[in-house]
Homo-oligomer: 206 residues x 2
């Protein structure tokens, strides 16, 4: 077991391992190995073994990994044994899509608040949620103790909203706005930008 800080690039691969393992689990599979897992997700078996070895001994030479055990360990490492409450800011198309997205169930997250500053959207129902007034965002998010937010506001508004979320105590922001943001130290930031995903592939196209 490594006691140095684990490189972020390794942390970034763990959710991908977990998604593939959960999929195997759902299809009734009970064991796997780094070779099979690697072929499924396009990462070498050696890399997977090296990454997982940072956290302990999860498999046996020759017999591989018991999937349910490895899933539990990864959920523990990634801190998603509990369900995190998440706020969405921006009730446009993307905000609606996220509020109704089925992919958060059993993966550690539950959207409990959606904000917008448009009077036409405030009060609107999206499934079980009512769109809240963004002018109260700092107080509302702080009082609820929410630490995670997803940002789906226009690019021009994104930095100002991020600042308010950080003021409210948010420690992790998933940004859908097509703009780079600055955050204070100790706050995590990830981007979900479809253009980035596409540009990464066009390099390989003729």
């Amino acid at each position: 077991m490594n006691t140095n800080p684990i490189p972020d690039i390794i942390i970034g691969r763990l959710p991908i391992y977990l998604r593939a393992l959960r999929y195997m689990q759902e299809t009734g599979q009970q064991t796997t190995n780094s070779q099979e897992l690697g072929e499924r997700i396009g990462i070498s078996a050696a890399q997977i073994r090296k990454d997982l070895s940072q956290f302990g001994e999860f498999g046996k030479q020759g017999t591989g990994y018991r999937i349910s055990f490895l899933v539990d360990k990864l959920r523990e490492i990634l801190n998603i044994e509990k369900v995190w409450e998440v706020a969405v800011v921006g009730a446009g198309d993307m905000g609606h899509a996220l509020a109704r997205y089925q992919g958060f169930a059993n993966r550690g997250f539950h959207i409990t608040m959606v904000f917008d500053n448009d009077p036409a959207k405030i009060g609107e129902q999206i499934g079980d949620l009512t769109v809240l007034d963004a002018s109260n965002i700092v107080k509302t998010v702080r009082n609820a103790g929410i630490k995670i937010a997803m940002l789906t506001v226009p690019a021009a508004a994104a930095q100002a909203v991020a600042n308010l979320l950080i003021e409210a105590g948010v420690k992790a922001i998933l940004n859908y706005a097509p703009i780079s943001l600055s955050v204070t130290p100790g706050v995590r930031l990830q981007y979900l930008d479809p253009s980035i995903g596409l540009q990464r592939m066009t390099y390989y196209l003729e």
Copy 2:
């Protein structure tokens, strides 16, 4: 200049450099350096210099990078000097959000088709687009010569749709469905899965 294949992890960082450089450009900035760029995006200056050096000499010691030159070079490397036509499959919330998304403009992509198999959605207008019948997907995509698709169908349908897209000649798939997919060799696959982005951050939360 390196003549070996460039590692995919480096290719994956180039769009992030490009986004930050475009932002600087839009705010009127003309030059930057690896230090400033690195601080903005959370990647070390040494890493940025090393990544860019794979493709040639883009800056001068002491004076840094001319932003417009580096932007042009990155667009050339990433193969996004032309605008790629993109098909969206799945006209649910996420499909609507993508069809109306403003973040593709000037970044190399234009959504020209949206498909669904729901008779209630076929024929629907989303902005300038009319939702097309997914039962004709192979023929329609092939005839249009479309090489890039975004998948926003339910998880249970995603692999079957991916197979049809590949049959139609698609070479790059951006998958929003919360499921791991298998693709044939030579087809690129990227995931935009908000749970993955969130799980990567919860590791660091208390």
